[in-house]
Amino acid sequence: MSDMLVVQNLYKIFGPDPDEAIRLLREGLSKDEIFARTRTTVGVRNADFAIREGEVFVVMGLSGSGKSTLVRMLNRLIEPTRGQVLLDGEDVTAMNNKALIAMRRKQMSMVFQSFALLPHKSVAENTAFGLEISGRNRAQQRTQALKALETVGLQAVADSYPDELSGGMQQRVGLARALATEAPILLMDEAFSALDPLIRTEMQDELVRLQQKDAHTIVFISHDLDEAIRIGDRIAIMEGGAVVQIGTPEEIVTNPANEYVRSFFHGVDVSKVFSGGSSTIRSRSRPRMERAKP
């Protein structure tokens, strides 16, 4: 698998004096010390990794660890302070507004924690949102929206409105909206965190199933190690704005980089990682799927 998204020395500093904050970071000061001295907040510090085509890359961390900021720098909902994001070798951080909009329409779509559906539009219209924005005609919008809704099992409610659906179904619409644009990269920001546990597991399995059928490159934000193990091909763990460890679920579980990483294991049955008896993610996730959907 080739690298799809490459993140190089990416920083985000919120506040009046980013240069000073980066200088202090290089001197080895912590996030809190820098805030005390300069009143600037370090969002993300020196993130540096590559996401491969077709993988589910989970970014994990506690709230405030910078994971949401990191994912928003990939499509520049948040402007990076320093560093680069390369999409298929093209520098996203250097794109002008027009190129950026084109990239968002064709290359990257996004799923949100609060679903962020438009209440005045029907399910089908919500699903077609990205297509509407990029100026496709109505017939095309409808066809592609229905196709995406079928993928998530919601074609029956295409003409309902979001407020008539349960949370899980609303997030399926959110997912369908992201799939409808046929963008190869999906950014999912705590996409299943607002759902109750049963529905959450169901959605995770659904995502794994979708990946087996038609692999997208997925950057998935989560604070839940259980979820990360279930869906992730690789996991990046963030602490205080820095990426402290990147690896497969097995690697993370068997060889945690520090106490912070280990603290995520609390209450998680890490033995699950080894079920299926194989080291590759694809074959690992298949038997679990069959258990979930007999």
Binding site: A116, L118, L165, S166, R172
Partner: protein, 308 residues
């Protein structure tokens, strides 16, 4: 210094007078243009409403009230119309209605874009906010003086004073509505590649609509509350009836005029509010027929069952 009050004079009033004089001297053309345009608009609006046979217009209002709000309110509208005819204030009511709707339309045409600009720029908001405070807290009578100086007496200065007084809520609630659109909704719009314009038209304005409708409703109400005051510079209508009642100490006449204003206010308030509600929960409500219910139930049941 006498009585402990410092003895100096800042001639604020003089400055304002000079300012008004200056505007009058240098912008005669603009003022005349505004006067003609607004006069034409409100005049033709009134003429159009007057041209409709009174019973037909009354029937339309009753029908609108019944359809938008409910049959009970329809009955209320019917009684209100009967009362207005019975008090012989139909013409005054129509004049007032034309003035209120005309000046509100202008207020909204100016106010909503300003509200949008405020929502998109903190600088614009910082500048506009104190101006709005001034417009809202200045006693409305004060607007009558420059309005009368610039535009003479009659409907146009009345409309100008009314629209200045009535504009702030439309501006404020448009601004507030757009700013209250959740961060994730805005991000969703941007993440799918909205341009600024698309974000405004397809995400922000539709989501701000309930708030904007509340602003429109408030603007109409304020405009109506201004009509009595505006009648002091000859705006006419129900305000004139009230004013005559005051001048002659005629309690009955004053009350009739006042009651007319109240009835018109209730009708305008409920009917415009009903449009605000439609935008919010409309789609679900509109399909409350039996067949739609069944379809909805099945539509919900299927994926729900698959998910369980």
């Amino acid at each position: 210094m006498t009585d402990g009050i410092p003895d100096y004079r800042i001639p604020v009033g003089d400055w304002v007078e000079h300012g008004v004089d200056w505007v009058q001297d240098n912008f005669t053309g603009v003022l005349d243009g505004v006067s003609d345009g607004l006069g034409l608009m409100i005049g033709s609006f009134e003429d159009a409403l007057m041209a409709v046979p009174p019973l037909l217009l009354a029937a339309f209002i009753v029908a609108l009230a019944g359809w938008r709000v409910g049959w009970r309110f329809g009955l209320f509208a019917l009684a209100a119309m009967a009362l207005i005819f019975g008090m012989d204030i139909w013409k005054e009511t129509v004049t007032t209605l034309a003035l209120v709707i005309g000046s509100s339309l202008v207020a909204l045409a100016i106010g909503i874009p300003i509200g949008i600009a405020m929502a998109r720029s903190d600088t614009v908001e910082a500048i506009a906010r104190p101006v709005l405070d001034l417009m809202q807290t200045m006693p409305p009578f004060v607007y009558l003086i420059p309005a009368a100086i610039f535009f003479g007496l009659g409907k146009v200065p009345g409309a100008i004073a009314t629209l200045i007084f009535a504009m702030p809520p439309a501006v404020r609630l448009t601004n507030l509505g757009i700013r209250q659109v959740s961060r994730e909704h805005v991000e969703a719009g941007l993440a799918f590649g909205c341009t600024d314009r698309q974000l405004l038209l397809k995400v922000q304005l539709p989501l701000a609509m309930p708030s904007i409708m509340a602003g429109i409703n408030q603007t109409l109400m304020l405009a109506l509350s201004m009509v009595v005051i505006a009648s002091m510079i000859g705006a006419g209508g129900l305000g004139n009836t009230v004013l005559t009642g005051i001048q002659r100490l005629n309690v009955g006449l004053g009350f009739e005029g006042g009651l007319g204003v109240v009835l018109l206010a209730i009708l305008l308030d409920r009917i415009t509010q009903s449009f605000g509600r439609t935008k919010r929960g409309g789609p679900a409500k509109a399909r409350s027929g039996l067949i739609a219910r069944i379809k909805q139930t099945f539509g919900k049941a299927k994926p729900g069952a698959a998910g369980a």
